[in-house]
Point group: C3
Chain length 139, copies 3
Amino acid sequence: MAVYQDTLTQQTRGRGTHHITTAVEHIVRASGITTGTCHVFQHHTSASLLVTENADPDVRHDLETLIARMAPDGDPAYRHDMEGDDDMAAHARAMLTHNDLTVPVGQGRLILGTWQGLFLWEHRYAAQTRKLTITVQGE
Amino acid sequence: MAVYQDTLTQQTRGRGTHHITTAVEHIVRASGITTGTCHVFQHHTSASLLVTENADPDVRHDLETLIARMAPDGDPAYRHDMEGDDDMAAHARAMLTHNDLTVPVGQGRLILGTWQGLFLWEHRYAAQTRKLTITVQGE
Amino acid sequence: MAVYQDTLTQQTRGRGTHHITTAVEHIVRASGITTGTCHVFQHHTSASLLVTENADPDVRHDLETLIARMAPDGDPAYRHDMEGDDDMAAHARAMLTHNDLTVPVGQGRLILGTWQGLFLWEHRYAAQTRKLTITVQGE
């Protein structure tokens, strides 16, 4: 059994999903671990992680539409709005999705379904630099 | 420390929750691991995982009612609807719940609260064959 | 590689978020593990876990406002209401947030972003005693 930990930095282009499967896969290969788990954690309260379809980009477009209804920008009920209309909405979108994900590792690779991709979801309007810690455990 | 990995196949009966605690527990016992974690991952973008009450089935009925409001079938705003009214709704329901869960293992068993059960949630109308990977780690 | 497991008991003051970062950090230090992961699991179906901003309490106030819209107390559609208006709402709020979280451990501490805190979210009106199991794995 071994543990291997590395960081990942993702420049975002503002609100939207950023595909990170390949970058995470590189860390799994570098770990030399063949069977176990890969834990992905992002270090921000206005971004989040998501596993969803990696084929038709309309899926992520429609997820944006729905989450914007649930966590509206600039809602009049918000008390926390110091950084603009997307400030509180970003925290709420993060709550409804995932701060960390774990993916099984087998034969030295992420075991994902055919249509599954890993995405970092930027919830702020402006481009940001986002940090992630990846921890691979197993043998 | 050891790692033990196995797969689980669940035939679903269409939209609704399927109780998987017992099947996961069997894998934990087979692992021989007494203290650690059990990671459950499902490999589809239109199904998800949930820990919720395993007693009154009305709880899961009411969760269906609420998630159908948040991720409506056949919403006119959807661009992604190739496979029918439940196609995009299924991806959205998956986003709002969980693609993977980890449960602690103690004394060779899942450590769950009295009322907690593990469920695979099918979000498509039609019955499907769903695959899961279970990874037990510990000593 | 080693595994270290301990329990945490949190008395809640009724609905609202309770900061647990420090209590979890104590268990990480007691584990002696310097690199790996810390898994936090709560054993109830009417409470949940959340990583969110630990600075301005208005963030958690606004999250309460939004989740109350998505999972209303005493909704006329609920079948499950034996324990009152907050009974089914609590299960639904738990579904939309997280039953378990994993945080990376580095240099013997939780690796959290500057603004990230760990919270136990009580969803029932009344104060409760909530149990958590913490499992630290690594080397």
